[in-house]
């Protein structure tokens, strides 16, 4: 069997190589093992923390906050985006306010939220809600605005009522772009829950990582990061599976049109 340069297994080999170099460099103290503990130690710490329930508990706390802020943002800003996309007058009215609020970098909302809600869950939910608002709102607006006019005219010709026009024509036609907004927001949610837990919290995975660093439990810190990477990866896959299933009809229709 000869070496195949195109094989995907090479990637696995590289990964194993990186891990091996990490392990050896740390054990032989080429790099300071206080800062970069051996991979085996990090993994052991990870599995211990998962088995003991520490990491799952922290992740659950963070996920509750993330879900609350994310779902709240979706519930508020998808309808608002539809309204803005449908009615030019409302769009013109809110345009300047949106343009003024949009450039606010989400992390600087954390102090405001701390002022308004204290250090509890409300603060994190608000921060996530605020930062998810723009991708969801603007993508929904764009999607609705760009719905094929022929679809709308056809529905009108058939005497479809306004309410049914929105739920049965416009929302489905705009759904891929709404999904894009939701997907971008998913990544933002994860970032902001970590930020808000680092700046003002006493639990959650963001706090756990920073706290482990401050107590110099470095292997725990890396274990926490590993769990966050896995979480991000999982969430992305779940989202892709969900949208693929929910939107498969859309792909079928649009490719047929071609």
């Amino acid at each position: 069997m000869s070496w195949n340069p195109e094989s995907k297994l090479n990637g696995v080999a590289v990964l194993l190589g990186v891990v091996a170099v990490w392990e050896i460099a740390s054990r032989t103290e080429v790099v300071n093992p206080l800062f970069v503990p051996p991979m085996s130690k990090i993994l052991r710490s990870f599995f211990t923390l998962v088995a003991a329930g520490d990491i799952p508990a922290q992740i659950l706390t963070s996920m509750k906050r993330a879900a609350a802020g994310y779902l709240l943002a979706a519930a508020v800003f998808i309808p608002l985006g539809v309204a803005l996309g449908l009615f030019k007058k409302i769009r013109r009215m809110l345009e300047i306010v949106i343009e003024m609020a949009r450039p606010i970098p989400p992390p600087v909302v954390v102090p405001v939220a701390m002022l308004l809600f204290g250090l509890g869950d409300g603060m994190k939910v608000f921060v996530i809600f605020f930062s998810c608002a723009w991708p969801i709102l603007l993508n929904t607006l764009d999607g609705v605005k760009n719905v094929d006019r022929v679809l709308i005219y056809t529905a009108r010709t058939f005497g479809v009522s306004r309410g049914r026009l929105v739920t049965e024509v416009i929302l489905p036609a705009a759904s891929p772009q709404i999904a894009t907004g939701l997907r971008i927001s998913l990544g933002i949610t994860l970032i902001l829950v970590v930020i808000s837990e680092m700046v003002g919290s006493s639990d959650g995975i963001g706090y756990f990582i920073l706290d482990s660093q401050r107590r110099f439990k470095v292997d725990q810190m890396y274990a926490g990061m590993l769990s966050l990477a896995l979480l991000g990866y999982l969430l992305n896959i779940i989202f892709l599976l969900a949208t693929n299933t929910l939107l498969s009809w859309h792909r079928g229709m649009t490719s047929e049109e071609k």
Binding site: P5, E6, S7, K8, N10, G11, V12, V14, L15, V18, F35, K89, R92, M93, L94, E95, I96, V97, M100, P103, I104, P105, P106, P107, V108, V109, V110, P111, V112, M114, L115, L116, G187, L190, I191, V194, I195, M198, V199, G206, I209, L210, S212, Q213, V218, M221, Y222, G224, M225, L228, A229, G232, Y233, L235, N236
Partner: protein, 259 residues
């Protein structure tokens, strides 16, 4: 006609009404005023701070970190992206490592950076570089992959070396994708700089905003937020302008091709 259409009267009216409601309710209700001072007070704070050296220094510090992180990320990620996009084998080798690191929220590396680089400029810049590099890298790889094969083959036919092809054909042809990545990273850079300043900084606008909140000087806090937002807005505008000026040739070329 054109002027009245360009000036968004209903938009301005809504803005004015909201501003008025905010001002009145904050003045009438002192409890609310403590959390959300009247808009006039915030503007006043902004003016007072503008004449003190303090805020200006914070602004310069933040801008410096932003530029350092953003530009470094751009250089590293574009170079790496071109190599990984052009050489399929190189990408295959790195794919798994990339896919493992990418989904981790970038802010999670702040503690590692603190551990290795201490609490100061280096940590904030390093974290910014890390976070900004991803969108640029992924877009550059995509851009190089989607280059018209004919362009590359033409280059080869004319006997250009690999290096010349990368520099003279691949880079310009992938530029629209690279610009998209750079644009996404622009707002990410500001997010990471302000976050870094909140967590480890002792200067910069992120630090200033958090510090004013802790000292309950809410007027100053909102003034800082307004300034950061303006900074983000201005940087974005600058980017759009640079893009429009620098990429004119590309639009011209692709438009001609369409004919």
């Amino acid at each position: 006609m054109s002027l009245s259409r360009r000036i968004n009267a209903p938009g301005l009216a809504t803005f004015a009404v909201l501003l008025f409601l905010w001002e009145v309710s904050a003045r009438l209700n002192p409890v609310m005023g403590a959390y959300l001072p009247p808009a006039s007070r915030i503007v006043q704070s902004l003016f007072q701070l503008a004449f003190s050296r303090e805020l200006f220094t914070h602004l310069i510090v933040t801008l410096g970190r932003f530029l350092a992180g953003y530009l470094l990320a751009a250089m590293i990620a574009v170079a790496l992206g071109i190599v990984l996009g052009y050489f399929r084998r190189a990408y295959n080798l790195c794919e798994i490592v990339i896919e493992l690191l990418r989904p981790m929220p970038s802010v999670a590396i702040i503690p590692v950076a603190i551990l290795m680089l201490g609490i100061g400029n280096a940590t904030i810049v390093a974290v910014t570089v890390y976070a900004c590099a991803w969108p640029i890298l992924i877009n550059t790889i995509d851009g190089v992959r989607n280059i018209d094969r004919m362009l590359l083959d033409t280059g080869r036919t004319f006997g250009l070396g690999r290096w010349r092809i990368l520099r003279a054909i691949a880079l310009p042809a992938a530029l629209p994708y690279i610009v998209t990545g750079l644009r996404v990273s622009l707002s990410i850079a500001l997010i990471l700089v302000t976050t870094g300043e909140m967590v480890v900084g002792s200067s910069g606008l992120g630090f200033f905003i958090l510090d004013e909140e802790r000292s309950l000087r809410t007027g100053n806090m909102y003034a800082g937020i307004a300034l950061v937002s303006f900074l983000g807005y201005a940087l974005n505008r600058l980017f759009v302008w640079l893009d429009a000026t620098a990429m004119k040739w590309h639009r011209g070329m692709t438009a001609r091709e369409a004919l």
